[in-house]
């Protein structure tokens, strides 16, 4: 049966219709007393610093789902290209996928131009994508790398604005980390000093922010070389239970020694059982 359908011209651009619907659904669910599943977030401390020969990026390794730690050792420093790495804070899936998409596009671009990709190119691709999604992609990034024009460091916000600075911090622990940077940053530091500064900034986030924790990962990018130090510092090693107490092994053993409970009487009653039926079921071992 033929039916006439009117072709409705859709204006270009992403449609945010469902976002309003989702907000209404969220409100309805909350009214009933339930809560929608929490997205896994990397409530986080990430930071970066430009030093004499390149950039140092740092990140903690805790991923949270609401108030529970979902991953104690996740990797927040993502690969973009051989000379560019990106730390991600915000919704874990968003940062992961966004950096992978841009990494893939940047590799194609690099093959097309025949040159090593520039950090400003990655920055522009990321900011244009995030702006297109008007902040609904919750990815706050610290992008750093070294290209033909030297070392560069950018911070990229979920709505698509970027800042090019010598030192940046992002995430829930960013205020703690920025306090360390504002105190001790100097231009043209040596590598060891820069690594120590970033390590201390992340540590400040880990120990003062509930959303950050576990270990400290570093990524040192210089011209022609990348040191991905994971983990650089295991700031929160899990404690080990004591091995022996009074000479006896304690770990996992809750057996009391024989004679702890006194036996008063002992009676043995044999149970005479009759075999009624016996059947054999062969196992299928084909």
């Amino acid at each position: 049966m033929a039916s006439v359908s009117v072709c409705q011209y859709r204006p270009g651009g992403f449609s945010f219709e469902n976002c309003k619907r989702n907000a209404l659904l969220e409100a309805d669910i909350n009214k009933l007393g339930f809560s929608s599943p929490a997205a896994r977030k990397t409530g986080t401390t990430i930071c970066g610093v430009v030093y004499k020969d390149g950039v140092v990026l740092g990140a903690d390794t805790r991923a949270t789902e609401g108030m529970v730690v979902a991953d104690k050792n996740c990797s927040k420093i993502h690969y973009i290209s051989p000379n560019i790495y990106c730390c991600g804070a915000g919704t874990a899936a968003d940062t992961e996928m966004t950096t992978q998409i841009i990494s893939s596009n940047l590799e194609l671009h690099s093959l097309s131009t025949g040159r090593l990709p520039r950090v400003t190119t990655a920055n522009r691709m990321l900011k244009q994508m995030l702006f297109r999604y008007q902040g609904y992609i919750g990815a706050a990034l610290v992008l750093g790398g070294v290209d033909c024009n030297g070392p560069h460091l950018y911070s990229i916000y979920p709505h698509g604005s970027t800042d090019k600075l010598p030192y940046v911090t992002m995430g829930s622990g960013s205020l703690a980390a920025m306090a360390v940077f504002e105190d001790r940053y100097r231009p043209n530091m040596e590598e060891e000093e820069a690594k120590r500064l970033v390590r201390d900034a992340i540590a400040a986030g880990i120990f003062n922010d509930l959303g950050s924790g576990s270990n400290i990962d570093l990524c040192v990018i210089t011209k022609g070389n990348v040191d991905y130090l994971r983990p650089h510092d295991m700031a929160n090693k899990k404690g080990v239970r004591e091995d022996k107490v009074y000479g006896r092994p304690v770990t996992g053993s809750y057996r009391y020694k024989h004679g702890t409970t006194g036996v008063l009487t002992k009676a043995v009653t044999p149970l005479n059982l009759e075999v009624v039926e016996e059947s054999v079921q062969t196992m299928d071992t084909s």
Binding site: Q134, H159, G160, L165
Partner: protein, 228 residues
């Protein structure tokens, strides 16, 4: 043209979706541009905020659009950066087609087109200023909503409310370049003193036939007014 920019900003933040917890970086700001004989002087503060945290205390809000055309950005950082990038591309293309330097009015029109067309989605207050061979130094203001008008002196951003009186009483037509620089620096300093969303350093630029000269006035070098 007394559109209360503050009112728009407030209703924006009271909307339950846009709480302080969301990563909305704003250039709540003070920007200014003044025409003089032979060019323009533009100036801005350097603060970008996300809620009560200063995300960048050394922002450069004076963005080059073309060789002798700049724009001063206020409002949402993401929106103004995206608009400025788009207009830079369009103006560059137009300039190559024409094979001559573009007019400042063209740049302002491009900004107005974009700001008016997407006025519901955008939050951008922009001052376009520059020099072209045909009409000399010009300042065009494109506030939130997408209006465009040429003015000899224009201020914008949340801090502008505090300096309308100062600007209106101290501006004279026919000031020299040095007088304009002093006027702009003092106006911006006064705004930064009173507006919480403005601060940092004062960035100035002079655009004329000779090109662009940029300068930065650091916090301790700002002109001093009262000692309260």
């Amino acid at each position: 043209m007394f559109i209360s920019q503050n009112f728009e900003m407030d209703s924006f933040s009271q909307n339950p979706e846009f709480t302080i917890h969301s990563f909305f970086t704003f250039l709540d700001t003070t920007i200014m541009a003044v025409e003089f004989e032979g060019g323009v002087v533009i100036g801005a503060d350097s603060r970008t905020t996300t809620g009560a945290y200063i995300a960048n205390r050394v922002t450069d809000k004076l963005t080059p659009i073309h060789e002798r055309i700049f724009c001063c950005r206020s409002g949402s950082a993401a929106d103004t950066q995206a608009i400025a990038d788009a207009v830079t591309y369009q103006l560059g293309f137009h300039s190559i087609e024409l094979d001559e330097a573009p007019l400042v009015q063209t740049a302002a029109s491009l900004f107005r087109e974009m700001c008016y067309r997407y006025r519901e989605e955008l939050m951008a207050g922009i001052i376009v200023a520059g020099w072209d061979p045909r009409r000399g130094g010009q300042v065009y203001t494109v506030p939130v909503g997408g209006m465009m008008t040429r003015q000899p002196v224009s201020v914008g951003g949340s801090g502008s409310s505090y300096i309308y009186g100062y600007v209106d009483s101290n501006y004279r037509a026919g000031m020299s370049k040095e007088e304009c620089l002093k006027f702009t620096a003092e106006a911006l300093t006064l705004a930064m003193e009173r507006d919480g969303s403005s601060g940092g350093v004062v960035r100035l630029a002079v655009i004329s036939e000779q090109g662009v000269e940029r300068q930065v006035i650091l916090g301790n070098q700002l002109p001093k007014f009262s000692t309260v």
